[in-house]
Symmetry: C2
Subunit: 226 residues, 2 copies
C-alpha cells in the first residue's frame, strides 16, 4: 500500500517598478522548519484538482488571487521532506500590482514579499523551486506575453520596458522594444495618459487578449526576443 502524500507549492510573483520582482513567502508555524520562510502550499484534498488546491491555499494563507497560474515542475525525491514522503507539484503565478500592494501592507509577520535578489533561507527544497520558477519566468516572457499579468490592466509602456529590464537583467532599447512589441498587434494604445512623477505624461496601453488569441490561432509565433 502506497503512503505517498501529494502537496502543491506556489511561487507567486509580484512586481513594482520601484522595487522590482518579488516572491510571496509565508512563515511556517510547525515543525519541520518551524519559523522558516517557505512557499505557500499544502496537501491536496481528495476531491480537488491540483490547480484548485493551489488557489485554495493561496487564499487561505495569503488572501491572494492570482491572475496567471501555470504548473512549474513536480518535485518528488524521497528525502525532500524529512518526515513523510511528499510529492509536491509546484506552480508559479503572477499577481497585479493591486494584489501585490494589498498583501504587502498586511503587516502580518507571517506573509511577506521578498525581492528575488534578496531571498531569505527557505524551508525544504523551496530555494531550488524558487530558482527554477525564476528561470522559467525569464524564459517564458521571451516567447509569450505574460508580463502584462504583472502590470495594471492599463499601463504606460515604460512599465513594461522596465519589467523586461529587471527580469532579463540587462538594458533594453526603448525604441527597438516598442517597435517589436507593437508589431504583434495585441497591444492597444489608449487615448488616456497618466503621469506618476516629473516628466512628460505617458500614454496608457492595454493588452488585448482577444486579438492575441486570434493571432495565436493563425499559427503566429511570438518570439518576443528582445
Amino acid at each position: 500500500m502506497q503512503s505517498i502524500k501529494v502537496s502543491v507549492d506556489a511561487v507567486v510573483f509580484g512586481y513594482d517598478p520601484e522595487e522590482g520582482v518579488s516572491v510571496l513567502l509565508i512563515t511556517r508555524k510547525y515543525e519541520p522548519f518551524q519559523k522558516f520562510w517557505a512557499l505557500p502550499g499544502g496537501l491536496v484534498k481528495d476531491e480537488e484538482s491540483l490547480e484548485a488546491a493551489v488557489k485554495r491555499e493561496l487564499k487561505e494563507e495569503a488572501g491572494i488571487d492570482v491572475t496567471y497560474l501555470e504548473q512549474l515542475y513536480t518535485f518528488g525525491k524521497p528525502e525532500r521532506d524529512p518526515r513523510n514522503r511528499v510529492v509536491s507539484v509546484a506552480y508559479y503565478g503572477l499577481v497585479r500590482p493591486k494584489d501585490y500592494h494589498i498583501s504587502a501592507q498586511t503587516d502580518a509577520d507571517d506573509v511577506a514579499w521578498f525581492n528575488i535578489k534578496k531571498l531569505p533561507r527557505l524551508a525544504f527544497d523551496h530555494k531550488n523551486i524558487v530558482e527554477i520558477a525564476i528561470k522559467r519566468l525569464r524564459g517564458k516572457i521571451a516567447y509569450e506575453p505574460i508580463g502584462f499579468e504583472l502590470l495594471d490592466k492599463k499601463f504606460p509602456f515604460s512599465d513594461l520596458e522596465k519589467l523586461y529590464q529587471v527580469l532579463l537583467d540587462r538594458d533594453v532599447d526603448r525604441r527597438n522594444f516598442k517597435k517589436k512589441i507593437m508589431s504583434y498587434g495585441f497591444l492597444e494604445e489608449l487615448p488616456e495618459s497618466i503621469q506618476r512623477s516629473a516628466g512628460r505624461p505617458a500614454k496608457l496601453f492595454q493588452f488585448n487578449k482577444k486579438k492575441y488569441f486570434e493571432l495565436q490561432e493563425r499559427g503566429y509565433n511570438f518570439d518576443l526576443f528582445i
Copy 2:
C-alpha cells in the same frame, strides 16, 4: 487522511528514417480499460524517486532503457482515473534505433511501437498526454540538441535532417540546416562513411557532449530554429 495515489507515465519516442517517429505503448491487462493500449507506467514506490519509478516501469513492462528522460507534466484531475484518485507525473523519453528495433521485434502483443500519426485509442487521458509530449518534443528540438538521442551515436547528416523534417512536418533546406547546426560546433565529422542504399556514401557525424556543455556554460544560446 489523504488517499491520493501517485503514479508515473512515460511517453517514449523512437525513430527510424523509414518509418518516422513512434511512441511505445502497452496493452492493459486489467480493468479499467482492459485490453486498451496505454502508456507504460504505474504506481511509485514509497522509497523510490519519480525518475527511478519511470525507469523501473519501462524495464519491467517493455525491457527498455531510455537515453534521455525528462519530466513532461503532472496530470491530477480527480476524475482522470475512474476508480481511485491518481495523480500521474508524466515523463517523455527518447531511445536510440537499437532499442527501438529490438522492442519492435519482440512480437509480444502487449508492447508495440505506434507511429505518432497513427495512434490507436488510448486508456485514461493518455491521448492527451501523448499529444502534449509530441508538442513538447517538437518545441524542444528547436532550442536544444536532443534530436541526436533518437539517432545512432554515429549518424549521417541526412538522418538528422530527415528527423527534423518529420518532427517539424515541413521541408528543411539541406545546406542551410547543415550550415546552422555545424556553426554551433558540437557536432564532429568523423573520417568514416557509410552507405545504406544507392547513392554517394555519407560521412558520419557524432554529437560531442563535452563540447556542448562547454558552450552551454559560456552562456551560449542554442536557437536551432530552422
